[in-house]
Symmetry: C2
Subunit: 368 residues, 2 copies
Amino acid sequence: MAQRHLDPTAGPVAGDVLTAYLRSQATEFLRALRQHRETGGAAGGGPLARAQSSVGGNGSREAVDAARALRRSARRISGTLHTFRPLLDEDWSEGMRPELAWLSGTLAREHAYGARLERLLAALQRLSGSAAFPAQVTSGVRTEKGGLTVGAARAGALLERQLTLARTRAHSAALQALGSSRFHAVADNVAVLASEVPLSAAATASAATATTTTAVATATATGLKPLAAAAEDRLCDAVTGLPLVTAGHPYNSQALVHGLSTDTAPQPQDAPWHQVRLLLRLHRYAREVVFGDEVRVDVRLLNAGQALDRHRDASEAAAAAAAAARTPRIAPATAYALGVLHADQRHEVEAARFTFQRTWTRETVGTA
Amino acid sequence: MAQRHLDPTAGPVAGDVLTAYLRSQATEFLRALRQHRETGGAAGGGPLARAQSSVGGNGSREAVDAARALRRSARRISGTLHTFRPLLDEDWSEGMRPELAWLSGTLAREHAYGARLERLLAALQRLSGSAAFPAQVTSGVRTEKGGLTVGAARAGALLERQLTLARTRAHSAALQALGSSRFHAVADNVAVLASEVPLSAAATASAATATTTTAVATATATGLKPLAAAAEDRLCDAVTGLPLVTAGHPYNSQALVHGLSTDTAPQPQDAPWHQVRLLLRLHRYAREVVFGDEVRVDVRLLNAGQALDRHRDASEAAAAAAAAARTPRIAPATAYALGVLHADQRHEVEAARFTFQRTWTRETVGTA
């Protein structure tokens, strides 16, 4: 459907399409940056902190939205520079990508700590049965604090302390980053992108009217679609490497195989899944570039991506619970609750893999 | 197929069939009891303890087998007295059932503690990744003790101490029971059963040649098949009350809903499943009575029963881990490992429910 005007020999050429996408993302980035400054995103406490404490008004919510939009466009620009790098000026894009990654990484951290805390506190509530069996909450050994047991309440307080501290630090780091000359250089580069995209010789060649066979071949090899297809291939290859057969068996107990290690390093078994998550995102962005405004929501990609987001979040939350359990001098009841919480989040990891497997294979079979 | 000689009007009558079954179970009981005494089942240390420490020779293994056979026939006699009580002398069977329940319960306890410890230690090994990823066992923070972390090793030692003590006490209690006059009364009753089964007036009536319509009706109402069907109905009714829709969704997180309560009381949500397990057993024994030697293994019942056994075992193991975590002055690392272990076993509970749901509904659909 979109093919008709993506074929470099018929309609807008690759360079034009790529330019249009990058320009719109750059414009989006600059708008989000302006909004972030106007809504006081740089003020103390952090947008997320204020939004969560519900002290802030619309301003905080807008600042959170602005920060999200900033990350969103930074990721898209960075991903596009990566997937379509043969079409772009090499020196320029190679220099810009790590800077964008640094920026979106720095901005994401504050949000991630806040979301992790929310996830863990919700899990503590759920594990205390307060959501599912409200009638039993106030009976027995539970305290009055939202139906939590002493251990759960203490574990929650410990996690709140640790993750709030981490979030505050991430907020300061983000503030510092946004005020740095390094950031201003990134913003300047994005501003350039909003007006003119530095294309490579290959992209310029494809822009010329393709009258000779050689020119057509060149344009095709470095065209949008082959590069987008290569991104999809990288995704599919990585998915092939995942233990999907195991993941497709419910309750396979694989995610908790290192559940008793209090090692806070990320679990090695999670890494391939995180990698697929990144490749899925790149594939999704490449589709946005190729199909432009006509891009249709691919429910399979959406669901698979959400499963992998959940996988990542649960994996990191489990690690945070394990890390908290290594705090010196905590009470055994606190440690016990953190152990239950850790195992619960590793089960979430396993559940997310199961969901991913179902989503991915069902749709593959359906469309094959 | 078995119908032809179970119809009270054609072939052996209900009382005869019931008598044959009870006699063979009573004979089995007496043989197991003799074997248990001969193989030194009453010697110190307990059959299970010696079998597990692999110090004992064939004698211990035989004693374990004898104890199992004793429990096995005691359960069958007791279950049969319950299901077919209208066919048996009421006073006699009502007096005998609680005594058989007391005996099999007392004998089962020693075995249960041993099996629970085995299950928990195996889970600790699995959760330390020693089984699935042997290459990584010796790296990182793990100690040399079978690849366990410090917390896991300590948790294992604590559980071993507590459950071995419980098992030793159960062994003493079993010994005391087997030497008691109460036990001798049970054994005497079973010996009576081996030679003559005290039938009720109804069973005797059905034994007379059924020439009148009234006699046939009486025989049918109190026949083996209606009573066995009633046992099956009780099972099916109880299954209907289970949350099977939820159980059929993998990773529904229901079993861990009270995961953070360190309350050692059994989880109320498990009770209906335990009840179904008992009713399933009664149904299985009733089938043995009705079909006699021609009874065919019903794979569905077998698998469903195994899932419920696993449910019960995991439920009790989870409770044991939670109970161990309440030991005063344990290290936080130990408590953490026990928390992970508890959650893991509750997850097993959930997995067992899922398996039961799949087994039960698939076969129901298949045969409907």
